[in-house]
Amino acid sequence: MINGSILKSKILNISLICAFFLAFGAFTAKASEPEKKAEKFDAGKTAMEHITDKHEWHFLGEKVVVPLPIILYTDKGLEFFSSEKFNPEGNIYKGKYYNYSLEHDKVKVVDAEGKVDEAATKKVWDFSITQNVAGMWLSGLVLLFVFLSASAAYKKRAGKAPKGLQSFVEPVILFIRDDVALPNIGVKYERFMPLLLTVFFFILINNFFGMIPFFPGGYNLTGNIAVTFTLAFIIFLVINLNGNKYYWKHIFSPNPWWLFPIMIPVEIVGIFSKPIALMIRLFANMLAGHIVIISLISLIFIFNTIWIAPVSVGFALFIDVIEVLVVFLQAYVFTILSALFIGMAVQEHHDEAHQEVI
């Protein structure tokens, strides 16, 4: 049918884009290969390097690297310098208060000979603008640009049909409103719409940028536990600060009374397990996608032959297409579960809330 062919051509387009990115990623990875020729290729190490945060922005693999500011909060005061100071690898930078060196992309306090001083390192808090932070700011700017211009368009074309950017964002916003917020939260949904929309689009755009192997992507923000922890913690606060008497009654006075000793601890665990589930789900899903793709690409270097590349790229392409789905799905799942948990906390009727959990 016509629909089927359109769908197919769309899938083909997406696949082509992904294939392009992948080929590019593979190429850049290959370009950096000769330096490490001497040591045996370690796929695990490569994967870890790709998914962990860095103090420099890898615009194009390891070829084009932009240094980022390092901000350290030490027991003696703030340190502020560029990550360039750590180049070449293993270089020791003499700061105002300590000597620093970068070890596995972690800032360590070292003495003059380069020996790591773990006790002093514990006192140093790393508030650097890392690749993740810089990427997050870039994605934030993109979000601001998209939605502020959409908002301006709404003001300019008040009462008219959406057009251009508006018609791009409106279905998604309406989807969040009508299919996520309204059925899960109920009549009080309007208060939580800004939070849900921001969470959804923040996760979505960062998931997407994470899928791009070079600038403006190349970072792994939503697959970082610190980020998912922060988002989940915000949701945790919103749930519990908005919890009404039915919510707390449900937790602290189970029915019948003799279940008190079992149910109260269970319910208290439940308070925390909800946001923790949110945190781990998003983190693990995004991280797994990144690891699978980098592992498939690593096959080329494990076998050390170009002939395995078609297989690698084919499989990686397959996973990448699935990841495009996962990108949407995880943003959606995080948002709908947040809405569900908020809805359970603000719903007026105890029984209904209970039914929705089942």
């Binding site: 870890m48 998914i51 962990t52 945060d53 901000i71 596995h104 808090w125 790393d126 508030f127 650097s128 603008i129 890392t130 993740n132 932070v133 997050m136 700011w137 934030g140 979000l143 601001l144 939605f147 502020l148 959409a150 908002s151 709404y154 003001k155 008040a158 009462g159 008219k160 964002v169 409106e170 916003i173 309406l174 409103r177 309007e190 719409m193 800004p194 939070l195 929309l197 921001t198 923040f202 970082n224 536990i225 610190a226 980020v227 922890f229 922060t230 988002l231 913690f233 915000i234 991280l287």
Partner: protein
């Protein structure tokens, strides 16, 4: 273990970034957009309701018009019928009146004619009488010019008279 130990720096920046983003987007994007969408939905709904009401009003007006038209037609028919009746009545009345008047006129004319005839007859009679007398006088005068004739006549007359 690195993977699952959150980095406080990243938590800090994420929290700050997310909250700023939430604040700005809430104030300048979500609220206006949701408001605009709501307004538009409401206006569309009210427009639809209004259209429905107008349609009902239209159908009501149409049926009213139709009934008015029917009524008007019926009225026209009755008026026409009445007018025809009145016309016929008038014609009949006029005919009757004309007939009566004609009859009256005829009667008068007849009476007049009779009168005139009577007068004329009387006149003619008089004239005939006068003429006859005249003629008779003239004849008599002629006849009785000589004595002999007079005597003859007297004789004749006397002959006729029989003395009883």
């Amino acid at each position: 273990m690195d993977l699952v130990s959150p980095n406080p720096g990243l938590i800090f920046w994420t929290a700050i970034t997310f909250l700023i983003l939430l604040f700005i987007l809430k104030k300048y994007a979500w609220k206006p957009i949701l408001k605009a969408v709501n307004d538009r939905e409401n206006s569309i709904e009210s427009a639809l309701l209004r259209a429905e009401a107008v349609r009902e009003e239209m159908s009501r007006l149409t049926s009213e018009n139709e009934s008015l038209l029917k009524q008007a037609r019926a009225e026209r028919d009755t008026i026409l019928a009445e007018a025809t009746k009145v016309k016929n009545q008038i014609i009949a009345d006029a005919k009757e009146a004309a007939q009566k008047e004609g009859a009256r006129q005829l009667e008068i004319a007849r009476i007049e004619i009779n009168n005139q005839k009577a007068i004329a007859m009387a006149d003619v009679k008089n004239q005939v009488a006068a003429l006859s007398l005249d003629i008779a006088e003239k004849v008599l005068r002629k006849q009785f010019e000589d004595q002999k004739k007079q005597d003859e006549l007297v004789r004749d007359l006397l002959k006729d008279v029989k003395l009883s």
